[in-house]
């Protein structure tokens, strides 16, 4: 019997600052069959709550993590193995499990944010994986690359993933000459040039989806495929989110605004609100967001329709939506001719956080096809 048939379920690392997490409950019983992407148990950190999902198929043989208990990142929470593996072997595996302290330097290297000097200014990004095609993750209005904390490592298993802070966002340059879709698209092209990325699969959420489409229209050869998640640019309607986000000045105003992003409002933790507020208070951000909102979503109507420019030259496209999206209606999902469409129940605008396993699996399959 080979131990390689036994797969550990460990405390995940969601974001740079996560050192430990609390097991809040198991979603499956001992002996449950498991497919890749299945949610196995729920974990909560001071920033966010989420589900740990299976990276390998098998049977849930052992639940090691106890609910309401805090474990360090990489601690053993459970064991997946085939039904044929004897219990004694599982016992031995659990008893002898040593948390991979690994190489601290390597760990820091992998988690580190990097910065690229582009014609637009300094842009922050994170890189994962190293094999396969390039894949670039583009966040939405007011977001940052950490929005993809549940996706970046999973996608890094099959692609070289870059997650980017768009200009004016996260820790990228705040002083943007003309905040609009054209300049953000130019910034993406400049970023790809700077890193020597000839082409890439683009995965864009919301505003990031509009940028991805515009990039595909302007430089078709550089975009191998599109994944558009609750994307802007596919219709004119948009909820009050952008206006409310720009207007919110304090925690009390901001929390209900952020709650409209999720089907499950409890996803909005105090830390998430504080982090967004800290970003919004940086010098220059308020003016940038106001100008960008006016240019792209002025008068509570989407102003740009890059989907129209794509006619006839769209790369393979996948459109993913959360059915309960309160920001951009899920009805827009069908507005890109020729695209594969998947609307996911029980999720809102942040479907890639709320249903990360399902979204990651869809993106991986889409890239494999493209």
């Amino acid at each position: 019997m080979s131990a390689s048939r036994i797969v550990p379920i460990v405390m995940p690392k969601w974001g740079l600052s996560m050192k430990e997490g609390k097991v809040t409950g198991w979603l499956l019983e001992d002996g449950s069959p498991i497919n890749i992407g299945d949610a196995i148990l729920e974990v909560e950190t001071d920033k966010i709550a989420g589900a740990v999902e299976a990276s390998e198929p098998g049977v849930l043989r052992r639940r090691v993590g106890t609910p309401d208990t805090v474990y360090p990142v990489k601690a053993l929470l459970g064991v997946i193995a085939e039904a044929a593996v004897p219990d004694a072997e599982i016992d031995a595996y659990v008893a002898s499990y040593v948390m991979p302290a690994a190489d601290e330097g390597e760990e820091d290297q992998a988690a580190k944010y990097e910065f690229a000097d582009t014609p637009t200014g300094t842009l922050r990004y994170a890189r994962r994986g190293g094999a396969g095609d390039n894949l670039i993750l583009l966040h939405g209005f007011g977001g940052d690359l950490d929005n993809f904390l549940f996706n970046i490592d999973a996608l890094g298993e099959t692609a070289t993933v870059y997650a980017l802070d768009l200009p004016g966002h996260g820790q990228s340059i705040k002083n943007v000459a003309k905040p609009d879709l054209a300049s953000l698209t130019a910034a993406l092209a400049g970023f790809m040039d700077k890193l020597g990325l000839k082409d890439a699969h683009l995965v864009g959420h919301s505003l990031g989806g509009a940028i991805a489409m515009r990039m595909a229209a302007e430089a078709p050869g550089r975009v191998k495929s599109l994944t558009l998640i609750c994307s802007a640019g596919l219709g004119s309607e948009i909820g009050s989110y952008v206006d409310d986000f720009v207007a919110a000045q304090g925690r009390k105003d901001l929390k209900p605004v952020l709650e409209t992003l999720f089907a499950d409002k409890s996803q909005v933790s105090r830390q998430l609100v504080d982090d967004v507020l800290k970003y919004k208070r940086l010098d220059g951000v308020d003016a940038f967001l106001k100008a960008l909102a006016q240019a792209v979503f002025g008068g509570r109507k989407q102003q740009d329709f890059p989907a129209a420019q794509l006619a006839g030259k769209a790369p393979p496209a996948l459109v993913i939506w959360g059915r309960e999206d309160a920001v951009i209606p899920a009805a827009h999902a069908g507005n890109l001719p020729g695209a594969t469409v998947k609307v996911i129940d029980g999720a809102g605008h942040m479907v890639f956080m709320e249903k990360a396993g399902e979204v990651n699996a869809l993106i991986k399959a889409h890239i494999a096809r493209s």
Binding site: Q249, G250, R251, R270, R281, L282, D283, G284
Partner: protein, 339 residues
């Protein structure tokens, strides 16, 4: 990007960035450059606790050492503010403010009001506050209530490095006189602080912990102690059973009544923590306002945890007893919960 900074570094960075942004920002104070007029090396001191170190050479001619006469240089700074500068005056210890009450209370705080809004005094007076530094009765007081009492002054007292930078930047950009109180025992406390400039608006309390059973209102050094008490009392902590909501006032004038009252309306219990002496304190002020505005929500008596009504003792043992402790805060919560 955010790095971990001490509150001392965060304050220094706020001063540095605002001086770079606005040529009208100048620093005035005793020993903030160091050695001026003597044989010593310039920038040797950076103030008694080194907060302004490094700024003298970065901003030539704008970090001014003053004579040891608070009444003179605070008056000069207020005059400079009235003439269009944005001086940040460092007064070492808030305790020394007594000799310049006229300049602050009668001049700086009144100009805008008496001159029909045509004059303004955008001055920041930075000063150290609080006990626990073994500096005895004349260098350890928490005189925040004195300044909060005066209309026309704004009073700020940060509890951590992140807030200190954002509140100091807001203080410098504000057009009214601001008394910026820095707790000596927080200078080495650390927090993640963005490298970029940012301003935290006045009059916005920070709810640092959510809880439904009892509201604890605090500011400055007391925020950490209130958090410690809340942790001890939480159902997961050793004393078990009470979820406290902890509010950091951040600015005492203006003060965020809404956040305090909203919280007490939910919890029905209030403990006010103040390192100042008990009479006419921030604790008594908050208690009175809550009693007036949401009496019917209260399920038990409001309790105040403050220093005793005595000068700060020089004996280290007594000084430690003098400052409200986490245990005292926890005991007050337990007492109000029992009634």
């Amino acid at each position: 990007m955010a790095r971990t900074l001490t509150m001392r570094q965060a304050i220094n960075e706020a001063l540095d960035q605002e001086m770079a942004r606005d040529q009208n920002v100048i620093l005035m104070g005793e020993d903030i450059a160091g050695g001026q007029g003597g044989d010593g090396e310039l920038d040797a001191w950076g103030g008694p606790l080194g907060v302004t170190k490094g700024l003298y050479h970065k901003h030539p001619g704008r970090v001014l050492d003053t004579p040891l006469s608070e009444s003179a240089f605070i008056g000069a700074a207020i005059g400079a503010a009235a003439c269009g500068m944005r001086p940040v005056a460092e007064l070492m210890f808030l305790d020394f403010m007594g000799v310049c009450f006229d300049q602050i209370f009668n001049q700086a705080a009144k100009f805008k009001y008496m001159f029909g809004g045509k004059a303004q005094t955008p001055i920041v007076i930075r000063a150290m506050v609080g006990a626990g530094f073994r500096a005895a009765a004349q260098h350890s007081q928490m005189l925040t209530p004195l300044f909060t009492h005066i209309p026309g002054l704004k009073v700020v007292c940060p509890s951590n490095a992140y807030d200190a930078k954002g509140l100091l930047i807001q203080s410098i950009r504000d057009n009214d006189p601001v008394i910026f109180c820095e707790h000596k025992n927080l200078y080495d406390s650390q927090a993640d602080v963005p490298a970029e400039s940012y301003a935290i608006p006045f009059g916005e309390a920070n709810v640092v912990r959510d809880g439904g059973d009892c509201t604890i209102v605090a500011y400055g050094l007391m925020v950490g102690r209130a958090m410690e008490a809340a942790k001890q009392l939480s159902p997961k902590g050793p004393k078990g059973g009470v979820e406290c909501e902890v509010i950091d006032l951040r600015t005492l004038s203006p003060i965020d009544w809404d956040t305090v009252i909203d919280s007490v309306e939910r919890t029905g219990r209030l403990v006010c923590v103040d390192e100042a002496n008990p009479r006419c304190s921030i604790a008594s002020d908050v208690s009175a306002m809550v009693a007036q505005e949401c009496f019917k929500a209260l399920k038990g008596p409001i309790r105040m945890v403050t220093a005793p009504h005595t000068p700060v003792p020089f004996s280290p043992v007594l000084e430690d007893l003098y400052i409200p402790s986490a245990a005292a805060i926890a005991a007050a919560v337990t007492k109000t919960m029992a009634q």
